[in-house]
Subunit: 451 residues, 2 copies
């Protein structure tokens, strides 16, 4: 019997998160206030975030202690297993060793719970009663709903309308954990109403939903805002993935040549790769690849500049790869990864060539997902399947080159709540949308110019 899983004990859950700002060659430029265009201070953010998270957003301390209450929740599913994909390797007839770190074991089905738990915890500590947030494909909305019930917080989710309609199971899971879910753009906020006035049939975007949630939080005293990706503290929380993974590779007596994750806002990629980038920054040879959809190609086709995090321009400007904050990706794309920009940390590291980026079309991604599910059993989330496609390509390249490489990718979530997308794919209803070059050009031209 070959060893398939490298399993850790409850006690092996990391006690500290790793902050890459302590080690990265270039610290990202600071966030700017949307009105004054000057660097924001803690006070500017305190209307929508608790101070503990604001501190985590800016600190350059290398290690941040994980609170006991958060660890207690982490034990519900962490440490997550590392799998050796023997059956996929055999299907590809590759000399490469393929591993995957599986975050779908979390009760919400994805890695997002790694940050929703501490975010709910710190908000509860700060006396907050309710959290307003957005969700795209629904992984984040589910994760924060679960965290809300654990810490006794009300959760309001603005869910991108196209997903709200396409993914009823995601919505139901949030409601089962007690959250209130509204399709965005909604009539509940000024931002939502403004969009609906211009385009009553708008199918929404993550940028629009963020505007709605931020507005909701900013206009209610007992309510804060929470974001499931992009921000530094979110990526910080996700580093439990990569920290566990390093320990698991030690146990396996192996080390990766290539580390792969899908990239929307960048939280799964950051969580998986930052502890390995520490090694790379300190001289170890390895490649980190961010994989994104061709329909929303932020890292591969975007510009590295200041942009708003949301469509209405309510959030601070962040220095990041962006397609323009009012870019609305094609609605037909079945997976998540539809944010118009990327985390500042991931953007800076990509700009500094510590991370490579690659984009795939959705049909080749679903083809890879099917091969994976027929080899390894698990039906992957469409988001995670971008990483699978890249891992398969790298494994086939290794075969061509006759090299025995070690590849690890993040299976950031399962696809059991996304099965209608598989049904559509099997029925030939999913087609590749060509890269919307003109729309992106236009969106980029509308960006504010920062000196």
């Amino acid at each position: 019997m070959k060893r398939t899983k490298i399993i850790l004990e409850d006690n092996d859950i990391p006690r500290q998160w790793y902050n890459i700002m302590a080690d990265m060659p270039t610290i990202p430029k600071p966030p700017l206030h949307p009105a004054t265009k000057k660097p924001v201070g803690p006070d500017d953010l305190s209307a929508i975030f608790p101070m503990a998270l604001i501190e985590q957003e800016v600190t350059q301390e290398r290690w941040i202690t994980i609170p006991e209450e958060v660890l207690d929740c982490y034990t519900l599913w962490r440490p997550s297993p590392l799998y050796r994909a023997h059956r996929l390797e055999k299907a590809l007839d590759t000399p490469a060793k393929i591993y995957y770190k599986y975050e779908g074991v979390s009760p919400s089905g994805s890695h997002k719970t790694n940050t929703s738990i501490p975010q709910a915890y710190y908000n509860k500590q700060a006396g907050i009663k309710r959290i307003a947030t957005e969700t795209g494909a629904g992984q984040w909305g589910a994760a924060i709903s679960l965290a809300g019930v654990f810490f006794g917080l009300e959760i309001t989710v603005y869910m991108v309308k196209v997903s709200y309609n396409q993914k009823p199971y995601r919505r139901i899971s949030m409601e089962t954990w007690g959250a209130s879910v509204y399709p965005s753009p909604s009539t509940l906020t000024n931002s939502g109403r403004a969009i609906l006035e211009k385009d009553p049939d708008s199918h929404g975007s993550l940028g629009i939903a963020i505007s709605e949630a931020v507005e909701d939080a900013a206009t209610h005293k007992d309510t804060n805002y929470a974001l499931g990706s992009v921000l530094n503290h979110v990526l910080l929380h996700q580093t439990v993935i990569g920290l566990e993974l390093k320990k698991q590779f030690e146990l396996a007596g192996d080390y990766p040549d290539i580390v792969i994750a899908c990239c929307g806002g960048g939280s799964n990629l950051g969580g998986l790769s930052f502890p390995f980038l520490y090694d790379k920054i300190h001289g170890r040879e390895l490649r980190v690849i961010a994989v994104e959809p061709e329909s929303c190609p932020t890292l591969t086709k975007g510009q590295f500049r200041y942009d708003y995090g949301d469509t209405a321009g309510l959030t601070p400007l962040l220095m990041m790869y962006t397609l323009g904050h009012d870019f609305v990706p094609p609605g037909i794309h079945a997976g998540g990864l539809r944010y118009h920009a990327d985390s500042s940390l991931v953007s800076q590291l990509t700009h500094d060539r510590l991370i490579e980026a690659r984009a795939y079309h959705q049909t080749e991604v679903f083809t890879a997902a099917l091969l994976f599910s027929k080899s390894e059993g698990i039906i992957p989330a469409p988001e995670s399947s971008h990483a699978i496609k890249c891992a398969i390509d790298e494994a086939l390249l290794a075969k061509e080159e006759g090299k025995e490489k070690t590849i690890v990718f993040s299976l950031s979530g399962h696809g059991y709540l996304d099965l209608t997308a598989y049904s559509d794919f099997l029925e030939g209803k999913i087609i590749d949308c060509s890269f919307p070059e003109d729309k992106i050009k236009e969106a980029l031209q509308r960006l504010p110019v920062i000196d």
Copy 2:
């Protein structure tokens, strides 16, 4: 940080299944041929089962070796974790220790994969090309579809029509793994056509779907039949659950006072409890509780006698608790557990008072499921939630009595493919159906009388 999970390594997967027939006080009476009413021999069964499984059906050997190829698949998700439900205990404020063994980690989301894998393996060994089977709520159909793709077998699934319509995600998962799925009763078989002639709007039953699958297998030379519960070899394969669990309790330094599982055909209950019943038969004190729905109360309201396994009377007669082979449980019940009878082994052990039985209404089961998902995070399958309800009741009783009992239940699967049932429950659409006493009486009167 409290220890939440008791985790085993790949190497701890049992190498042998446990056969309770070696130890039970009364061996069940033999299956009878449906035409002659005489005990069936191996030849009677060889038209639809491979000889290896027929041998496992009748052997009284205590230990059966698990083939290496089956172990290789088991490592994809086994050993399954044992959880200590700290958060549920706190919510109940009970002195009882509550554990659950979680089988939802399998790629198909339930315990059914424990037997679908060996069944596919032995059929492949016997040169079979295709397997015809039935599925109720869809857990078994998904499990055999996955096993089929692993061993290169075509899979045809007759899915009870009410579930086919209510649970599209289950169907899609089967199709994603390559299976063909038909709503039953279908027009593909004589049995299906006969039912549709009498009742064109029939929403189907497990008994009808079994008739269709057995007929399909019996009339095609390269095709065998497979059943996901009830039969001795199925329960045998499931004993990996209880065998792992005993090892996990050893590691935890604990031992259960009460072992609880839901019971439809009996495979999850048998798999969990048989290794513990070995101890009970040899003098150790413990209780085993089978939990079933009030709408299909086989063990609590059925008769212990010979009956057919299917509606059309194509299968052998088995000695079991039954409500009558043409009893069709109310269509509104959201979970599985809708089979008209129980495994012979479970029936005999219940008759011999080694197993207790209990029935619950579905709304109290869903209420328990919600409490569980808000405490432990995981949204449970409606089937498994019957066991949760019973565990909660026993924990509250322990509180009333001021006793520190150790309770373990089987969380046989997750509910992420059953979320429409939760949505219906949250919207107040799920109501309790009163026990259909008259219909059961009628169905029992139609049973063949065996001397």
